[in-house]
């Protein structure tokens, strides 16, 4: 009871104490303090509000600008995932060809193609399909298919690294070798309607490699590029037999240097080496009975190639006029055994002997192309091969020694209505087949549709 009373009293005292302390002066002071605080708070808020307003305003202006910019920049909206489709281009090339018929191999050279039967009359030649795109940030891939009747040939199918840096690029898959100058160029980019004799003799069309290529570009003022390739080696001058093994059936190395002379001239020179090890590489040769004998070569084939290209355009602007000179030279040695299959029953001279075969042959071409006005170019090319020395061993009894240097002059004029189309007329005096020179006329078209990539220098 007492406790309760005490508590109540205590509470009363406690509750009463503020009232006791609040004198009128103190209240006034408190009010003043409160008011000053409130005012400063108000001012603070007003300032903040103003700042906010101005920020909103500038943001609005910015947004406005951005909208205008966006409106100006707005591309077609991405409609579907098809935007990720690779670049596809189709190259149509056909011709009307007037030339001698029948088999006309390059005399004195083991043929790079099994048959050297050139088409004539109207021909579709082959149609190229090129598909390419970046795989991811690290690499790019390209496929080049050559379509012809009843066949699709994989001309190229490779990936190329994009981000190795340090001047390094690796290419892998099937690619056109980096040796020589013309080798990497597809037929639609050739300056003449047909291949040079040098490339026909060396590779058929061009050297393809199934393997790996490493290129290194030096960090120098002068353009200096070194490259090396290891490959399966099933394509001529290799063979399927030589490629059937672990490791590499062919390897190649090349070096390119180049630069500008003033603003109007630019050049590139190169030196390349190719080594292949064909086994039972088949090829037809005319024997002393004029019978087409089937031979098989096993051994090693090595070739040096030197190339040089020089381009000129007034002020470096090729649009009106420009001039291109290109020349290449090769020296090839083949050493091994040659089998000439027994065809005596069918009228051939061979008796199925295998003996040493050694050849040292060379050749080259030089060409000049002049664009004398927009759309129009004309060009002259001289091909010459040196039959060199060919040692058939005992098989020499079945073949006539050939002392002949195949050569050809070609003259062309082409007209390009746009960058995507070209029409060409070409005359050639062909002396590549011994004893039967031929005058040839080719009327050719090259059309490119779809995305079309840049051509190399």
């Amino acid at each position: 009871m007492f406790h309760r009373l005490l508590l109540a009293a205590g509470l009363a005292v406690a509750l009463a104490s503020p009232a006791r302390a609040a004198s009128p002066d103190e209240i006034a002071a408190l009010r003043a303090e409160f008011e000053s605080k409130f005012q400063s708070l108000q001012a603070d808020y007003e300032a903040r509000l103003k700042a906010l307003e101005s920020r909103v305003q500038t943001a609005e202006i910015k947004a406005d600008n951005a909208q205008q910019d966006a409106a100006a920049n707005a591309g077609p909206p991405p409609v579907s995932s098809s935007a990720f489709n690779p670049d596809i281009s189709l190259i149509l090339q056909g011709a009307y060809i007037d030339r001698a018929g029948g088999e006309r191999p390059i005399s004195g050279f083991l043929p790079a193609d099994e048959h050297a039967h050139g088409e004539r009359g109207f021909t579709l030649d082959h149609t190229e399909v090129v598909i390419s795109a970046n795989v991811d940030p690290y690499s790019r891939a390209l496929v080049n298919l050559a379509l012809a009747d009843d066949e699709v040939e994989v001309e190229e199918a490779w990936f190329q690294t994009l981000r190795l840096g340090h001047g390094l690029t690796v290419k892998g898959g099937r690619f056109r070798s980096g040796i020589g100058y013309q080798n990497e160029r597809h037929p639609h980019a050739w300056d003449f309607a047909d291949n040079s004799l040098m490339y026909s003799a060396l590779f058929g069309e061009a050297l393809k490699q199934d393997g790996l290529q490493l290129r290194w570009l030096a960090p120098t003022e002068l353009f200096l590029e070194l490259g090396a390739e290891v490959a399966k080696g099933q394509f001529f001058p290799g063979s399927d037999g030589g490629a059937d093994k672990n490791g590499a059936g062919a390897w190649a190395a090349f070096a390119h240097v180049g630069g500008d002379v003033g603003v109007a001239h630019s050049w590139r020179a190169g030196l390349s080496y190719l080594r292949a090890s064909p086994r039972e590489r088949e090829g037809f040769l005319d024997d002393i009975n004029d019978f087409e004998a089937l031979t098989a070569f096993s051994g090693r084939s090595s070739a040096w190639l030197a190339d040089f290209v020089w381009k000129w355009a007034p002020d470096g602007n090729p649009r009106q006029r420009n001039f291109i000179f290109a020349a290449e030279y090769f020296d090839r040695d083949e050493d091994g055994d040659l089998l000439c299959r027994d065809d005596s029953a069918a009228g051939g001279a061979c008796l199925g002997l295998t003996d040493r075969y050694a050849s040292a042959q060379s050749g080259g071409y030089a060409q000049a192309i002049y664009q004398f006005m927009p759309r129009w170019r004309t060009g002259l090319r001289y091909d010459r091969l040196d039959g060199g020395s060919v040692d058939f061993g005992t098989n020499g009894a079945f073949f006539e020694a050939v002392d002949f240097d195949p050569s050809r002059w070609s003259l062309m004029t082409d007209y390009s209505p746009s960058e995507f189309s070209r029409f060409r007329l070409q005359f050639a005096r062909d002396k590549s087949f011994e004893g039967d020179p031929d005058n040839q006329v080719i009327l050719q078209y090259i059309l490119s549709i779809g995305a079309h990539g840049a051509h190399k220098f």
Binding site: D69, A72, N73, G75, P76, P137, R140, Q160, L162, R163, L164, G165, H166, G167, L168, T169, R215, W216, L217, A218, P219, T220, E221, L222, F223, L224, E225, L226, A255, H256, V257, G258, G259, D260, V263, S266, W267, R268, L271, K311, D315, G316, N317, P318, R319, Q320, P374, R375, P417, S418, E419, F420, I449, G453, A454, H455, K456, F457
Partner: protein
């Protein structure tokens, strides 16, 4: 083989990298080299892949350009497909990871500019049309200002140590540029609405900025050489709606514009197009000073 090795080594040492500048910059066109010079001064060693006398559409990835691209820290191009025929090759073959698309070392001016003339339909029958719009964007000086801001940021990203200096140089450039633009716009005011014939659509931005009215093009379709038939047609059009002048750039052949101008008895005028296109166009300011003064002289 031995001699080749010696040759390679000699070439390597003879061609030692030249300068110790902070950034090695390669630009696709001279205008971006000039802009980089304004923003970076001595902080960058700048060279341009093309000159004002070369058509930027049709350049080849020459060996010398590959060698330059190999060493570049920053590659500055217009983009918008202008360099489509050679730039991808330059980027792929140079073995330089820094300048690949998407990397900070590759700068596309078109991303920062206002782009006009976006095609509504794409068909090669229309000539060499650019899917992402007209790429000759530098002849609108407002675009130069926009690109300068973007480029300043990029330079600072690549060379953070000197970031403040790039920003300061840009501020300085922008104030000089704004003043110059006001002057040019005043000079060009009299040209507003003037009907003109152009060689190619590479003057569209200039026309858009100054309010010139393009009533004809010498090229029958963008990128295709002028033909006699098309020029004759154009001459007929000019009889009905006369133009004040025929404009072309330094890299285009004067033949077609002079043919038309002499028959329509109006002046044919060559504009520098970019830095280096005329003796007066020594830098970006000179480019527009010279362009405006040439336009004024021909259209008094």
């Amino acid at each position: 083989m031995k001699s080749l090795f010696v040759f390679v080594l000699t070439a390597f040492f003879l061609a030692a990298p030249a300068a110790n500048a902070a950034l090695n910059v390669l630009t696709c066109e001279p205008e971006w080299a000039a802009l980089t010079q304004e923003l970076a001064g001595d902080l960058a060693q700048v060279s341009s892949a093309t000159t004002a006398l070369q058509d930027p559409h049709r350049i080849q990835a020459r060996p010398s350009l590959l060698a330059k691209a190999r060493r570049a820290d920053l590659l500055i191009c217009t983009g918008a497909e202008l360099e489509m025929g050679w730039l991808p090759l330059l980027q792929r073959e140079a073995g330089n990871a820094r300048i690949q698309p998407g990397q900070p070392g590759y700068f596309e001016a078109a991303r920062f500019a206002r782009i006009i003339e976006r095609p509504t339909a794409l068909d090669r029958a229309q000539g060499d049309v650019h899917a992402s719009g007209n790429p000759h964007l530098h002849l609108d000086p407002r675009n130069i200002a926009r690109v300068a801001d973007g480029l300043t940021k990029r330079l600072a990203d690549l060379d953070p140590v000197n970031g403040a200096r790039y920003a300061q140089r840009n501020t300085d450039f922008q104030s000089r540029w704004t003043a110059a633009m006001a002057r040019w716009e005043q000079q060009g005011a009299r040209l507003r609405g003037a009907p003109v014939v152009v060689h190619h659509r590479n003057l569209s931005y200039l026309a858009d900025w100054l309010g010139l009215q393009v009533i004809g093009e010498l090229e029958p379709r963008p990128g295709m050489e002028p033909t006699a038939g098309h020029l004759a047609e154009l001459l007929e059009t000019l009889k009905a709606t006369p133009a004040r002048m025929v404009l072309r750039t330094a890299y285009e052949s004067p033949k077609a514009s002079e043919w038309l101008a002499s028959r329509a008895t109006i002046p044919a005028l060559e504009l520098p197009y970019t830095v280096g296109g005329s003796p007066g166009a020594k830098d970006l300011f000179g480019l527009f000073d010279d362009t405006l003064s040439r336009l004024q002289q021909s259209a008094p």
